[in-house]
Amino acid sequence: MAHNTFDLTWMIGGPQGGGVNASAELLAKAFSRAGLSVFANIEYHSNIMGKHSYYRVRVSDDAVHSHVDHAHILVALDGETLFGDHHHNKEFPTHYGHVAEVVRGGAIIYNSTPDPSDEDLHAIKDAAMLREKIQRDDVLLYPLPFTDILKTALAKLGREKEFRALGIMNNTILVGASVALFGFDPARMEAIVRETFKGRRAALADLNVHVLETTYAYLRDNFPNHFEFKIKNGEPKLDQILIRGVQAAAIGKIQAGLGLQSYYPISPATDESVYLEEQQRKFNFVVVQAEDEIASINMAVAAAHMGVRASTSTSGPGFSLMPEGIGFASITEAPLVLVNYQRGGPSTGQPTRTEQGDLQQALHFGHGDFQHIVVAPGDPAETFYDMFHAFNWADRYQMPVIMLLDKFLASTYTTIQTPDTQNLKIDRGDIYTPADPQQNGYLRHAVTQSGISPRAIPGTEGAIFWTTTDEHNPKGHISEGVENRMAQSDKRFRKLELAEKEIPDDIKYTLYGPKKAAVTIIGWGSSKGAILDAVRALADDGLAANFLQLRVMRPFPTDAVEKILGKAKKIVSVECNYSAQLADLVQEKTCVRVARRVVKYDGRPFSQNEVVSGVLKALKGKGERVVIVTGQEHLNAAVKKTVKKSPAPKAKEKVR
């Protein structure tokens, strides 16, 4: 069953800081504005300049939620993108070049006038030599003399002398060549360029448009139009936006009424706080850069006690410093929202790579029996809504709410429908206001039937209270009393029971696909997109699969999960960590055994193809763990089938 008329992937590789991000994001924006569905994700090193990074932009006229392992256009900004780093990083290569990922009939665009310091690319004298080296006669090669094109463009404007200063225009050249090959509407491309260069930078808009046109002309004059993968220009969708996870998280916080955000710089969480810093004047909240994550969380907990909506965002190493503060919030009943952008662990691990490795930590972060809520949204839309609700839950149940995101979700651009904020109502929970301000006697930790003790906002006359990280009595003073300890523990746990009853099922979990299926995939967090797309791909191949996405990890929807999985014919878990932490959680909470586990822990997210082949392998096996490794699935049969076959074009190449 065809869902779309095209489903194409554009890919760019190059040195960090070399324009990979700028050009990919420009293109993603152009496609999004044209009403197309976009999924754009980046891989990069923990390095400021120079190391290899690559960006994929998948575009389709039907919804796409993941990336695939193949590309229809590969733009190589340097030799490493084509040939990998295995010849100078012999022992532990990070990749072998991206040429193998280009589909039959696909295109490779590269700079035929590279800097001599790029020895690998500089050694390629012409297209024939490259073809010989890469051993691919089924792809089209587009050697573009970036230098000459830019000089030509500038000469027409009499600005040749600015050539060196305008090297950044290479981005425009490669974007221009790419949209020309795809047949993307040049008027739309121009509009995006003009939108990007506004105000003081408006002069650059004309220049960029001119470089685009020069590139189109160069392509027309020098290459036959053999590239067959075309984008169909659709109609703009007014309610569609292109958004990254960090932006969704930050805007969710703003919508929820964030008052104080504290943070300590850490990849990949920092972007959220930086975005919030940009918005703080407009919305009257404060972002504090703290001296470490321990300070961050304590600032947030105290601010929450003072009556503002407070939050802190971090990643694994910072999260590992915070348990003490989360316990503080839990026993003193502070409404705190904490975001952990997971990355490869343990310890410093892989700072810029993704992993879903902190689920068990988020559930069992600290000592003692504590109360908290753990939520793991699976895409930017869920991130926005869940973040909003997290603040309501924190206030209502007076306990910390941990939001589990990750590097993949944080940094990936996807098109979503603009979230609807009409029905989002702020609920500050039960607030105590004294009937008579002269009469003290307020009990901050009063034992109530629901477990919720109405909280006072400090500064209120007649509502002075105490609280302490020691076990305390209803008034908030230290108590080691036997009955009191029981009463306080019980009342705090009653709040969690209340949360379990009140948090809607459709937030806690979702079953996608047919109710009856040959296989039920369970997953969580950012793997959601790849699993959703894989379920569709599997259905196209005749395998009926459905997908149970778990989103609220505590309070865990035990009954519902047991009911759904109890009926499942076969269960396969798919997640980005070594031990299949969700599968373990399901086994801990239910009577269901999850033996078939597809895992990936090389720091890269699942692609659609990897989930497909992982699930198929898991089903063939008898319950062995299936390990997926990046770059080792895209050439196998499962993928070849999903790639449209086309005759190898006989391109006449211009030898340069």
Binding site: A28, I241, L242, I243, I251, I254, Q255, A256, G257, L258, G259, L260, S262, Q279, Q280, R281, F283, N284, F285, V286, V288, A290, E291, D292, A295, S296, N298, M299, A300, V301, A302, A303, H305, M306, V308, A310, E324, G325, F328, T332, T418, P419, K425, I426, P458, G459, T460, E461, G462, A463, I464, F465, W466, T467, T468, T469, D470, G476, H477, I478
Partner: protein, 318 residues
């Protein structure tokens, strides 16, 4: 310098007793903490700050119990984290008087990183350190201020690392009010606390406090000095001028910090108490209000939050 709140001989609205929370106090008999808490309550009564506009935060240890004995919003937080907690509380509601208290182990040991960085911020609150040279609540181990070679009765072995000089560290960290008090002179201490609260910026008040149970070296008798000469003397009685008059004059700042540094190493036959250093510098609160003018009217806690329109943020995306 101390502004007494007695006006027109009218009866004071708040008496010292109004700042007392009447629960069982479990400090040891003769503990120096009693002097400090009395001084806090006297200072608050002198300032006539309504109890509900005061927040007292503490770390962990004997000193950590302070908020429970004061009638004000009280937060007994974590070991070593009282400064970030006080920072969060003050930013959330800068209209309240915020007082942070903790021991020397809490502030100069486990919380040393926060001690340093809080000085950089200069947020407007007061930090009182109960400095007694030992970890009392865990039964008398050496604390960060105990000097090398010393051994209290509770220590099996003498200390083999140096003690920290908190006033010297505070000078480097950037505290704009640095003072030292003596727990057994609550009247003088109350004056210092009052000055510290009135000071705009972060005020560090290191209080020499006796632990009669575990520190048999720094006792009431030791601080009283040998016959004939008192060990403790008051800086203000010697003509010492701690105040930087021109905060744009780096030479003056360095000169005033230098004399404070020299005084901070005066420890032995004579120990100075009083204000070591004071400068009126821009506060973190000022910077926040400049950035977000709405804070001049309302604290973050009072800000309306249910009327935000994020639609322009979505529109500005791709």
């Amino acid at each position: 310098m101390i502004k007494m709140a007695v006006v027109n001989s009218q009866p004071l609205k708040f008496k010292v007793a109004d700042y007392k929370e009447d629960i069982w106090n479990d400090w040891c008999v003769g503990c120096g903490d009693f002097g400090i808490i009395a001084a806090i309550q006297i200072a608050l009564a002198n300032l006539q700050t309504p109890p509900h506009q005061v927040a007292v935060l503490s770390g962990i240890g004997c000193s950590g119990k302070t908020p429970h004995y004061i009638n004000a919003y009280g937060f007994h937080t974590l070991h070593g984290r009282v400064l970030p907690s006080a920072t969060g509380a003050k930013i959330a509601n800068h209209k309240m008087t915020v007082i942070a208290v903790g021991g020397d182990g809490d502030g100069y040991g486990i919380g040393a990183g926060y001690f340093l960085n809080t000085g950089r911020r200069n947020l407007d609150f007061t930090y009182i350190v109960y400095n007694n040279g030992v970890y009392g609540l865990t039964k008398g181990q050496s604390s960060p201020t105990l000097a090398r070679g010393l051994k209290t009765k509770s220590m099996p072995e003498a200390a083999i690392q140096d003690g920290v000089n908190p006033i010297a560290v505070a000078l480097g960290a950037g505290y704009t009010f640095i003072a030292r008090g003596y727990a057994l002179d609550p009247k003088h201490l109350a004056g210092l606390i009052q000055q510290a609260i009135e000071h705009r910026g972060t005020a560090l008040l290191d209080v020499l406090q006796t632990c009669p149970t575990y520190n048999d070296l720094y006792t009431k008798e030791w601080y009283s000095g040998d016959a004939g000469q008192k060990r403790i003397y008051k800086l203000e009685e010697t003509g010492y001028d701690p105040v930087v008059r021109d905060t744009s004059n780096l030479d003056e700042i360095v000169a005033k910090k230098s004399q404070a540094l020299m005084k901070s190493y005066e420890w032995g036959a004579r120990i100075p108490i009083g204000v070591y250093y004071q400068a009126h510098a821009p506060t973190y609160d000022d910077a926040l209000m400049e950035r977000t003018p709405a804070l001049r009217e309302k604290s973050l806690a009072e800000m309306q939050i249910d009327n935000r329109d994020v639609a322009p943020l979505f529109r500005a995306l791709g």
